[in-house]
Amino acid sequence: MNYLATHSTVLLCMVVYLGLIITLGWYLQRQSAKTVGEYYLANRRIPGWVVSLAFFSTFISTNTYIGQAGESFRYGLSWTWVGLFWAIFCVVSWMILGPRMRNQSIRLKSFTVPDYFQLRYQSPLSRSIRVLSAFIILFATVWYMTGIAKGIAHLLQSVLDVPYMYGAGFMLFFTCFYTILGGMYGIMWTDAVQGILMFAVALLMLAIPFMYVGGYDVLMAKIAYVDHVSKKGTPIGSGLVSFGQLTSFLYIAGIGLSVGMKQISEPKLLIRFYTVKDRKGMKFAMTWTPIFMGVSLVCVMGLGALVHAMVTTEEAAYLVNNTDEVVGFMLKKFNSPLVSGICLMGLFAAGMAALASVTLVVGTTLVKDIWNVWRPMPVEHIIPRTKLVMFLYCVLVYYFTLFPPAGVVELSAFAGSVYVASFLPTIFGGLYFRWGTDLGSIASMMTGIVVNIIWRFGVRPNYESMADVHEVFPAFIASFVVYVIASYLTASRKPNDEHLSVVFGTEQLASQSTS
């Protein structure tokens, strides 16, 4: 009873939020699950504003609202540079990939990113590209989902005193449940609702440190010089407001690029382009997605640095080594059940939107790009099996969440780096380079993942001078160079002109000019 009395407002907010999501998922289920096209892609009939909010809420997960926000507690306001990289790649993603990816996916009748690779690079090897890319997705996603579940479990622990293992389990399986219910149609609409909530909560979270200390001037004066210690044990001093004093720009750029470039290479985001309804929707999403993203990033990326004004020296010494707990600590310290409840709703939304999207990508990838390729199945089995494997994958992620190998930011950045290095050359080459070949693609993917693993586990821990050089740099450069060289050396394996004219939409132009 005492627990309920203490946490009644926060719990009420959570019940309202979860009730809304369940109701929405249940309602949308009736419109989603009839065919594979509807379950996987919502039949490409989602309005632009929904896609825009869904893209934003899917990319900005708890990794951002908890992990990145907390990271600036350690590295100061310079950490906002990470947000700048992300904003740039959001624009690049919608400008360079959005319309082209949607059009090619329609012309090729592609349903998933791996099947796009197979259809685009049409050759005896293209099926192998599809399966290899599917395995890469499964490998990278497990770390990403672990990071999200870890972040939200810490938050539930801080704000509601829920034990870590229960919080992580609840988060994962609740999201899995409504993803199974709604498919892509349900996910897009719930993501949009969650996006609105997240946008509002980003503004509210930014206001908390200012309200706590009594205004902008007081807060800026407090963080201008602090007697807290950094992770290395040295005094922070004016480091929170001085560029690059608490970490190198190389490290900031590594995290900024590895996570930011996911927007141009990660299947859960690329698949959003497939679903846009029409030209008007595309234009809306191209305009507004960077705005939703940019404003939220300005609010949260430096939040941890501002929290220094709210904590004692002893508390700072603990938090600087446990940055995933900074946001939860800030809410607890602010001690307003209503604000905590609203923020928790937004943070839950951030985690659930991202988890739901990747869960569906994993399900579609496992069934359509591995199982169905290995042993073709009747159409009526595809959706039930997709639901089953989504649940089983969540069980696997739950295991890793109980024994996480790294912090939220590192997990997310590693997953991002795998996507960037393995997929970006193949995607970009597929969309723009007629000369790209199947062997170029497969060699580039393998190079990307191998260099990633070697650099992450072999080079960075063992060579101090390389510790801040994120794996995304060598892995992406190597995979891109390999794509170009291997495609050049195997130019004869290029798909035929007839196929390429379908891919690039030039067959109508050709037929018009001949008639």
Binding site: T80, G83, R102, I106, P290, V373
Partner: protein, 41 residues
């Protein structure tokens, strides 16, 4: 706060505005979807 620490805040704002203006002047080619057949593979 020094210039380079404040820079990303202003840069994000500028990017949002420039992008919004650029998109209004862009020719965006989005193809109509044909009714898709149920896939078996």
């Amino acid at each position: 706060m020094d210039f380079l620490t404040a820079f990303p805040y202003w840069a994000i704002l500028v990017i949002m505005i420039v992008n919004a203006i650029a998109v209004q002047f862009m020719k965006i080619d989005v193809q109509d979807d044909e009714k898709e057949k149920e896939p078996t593979k």
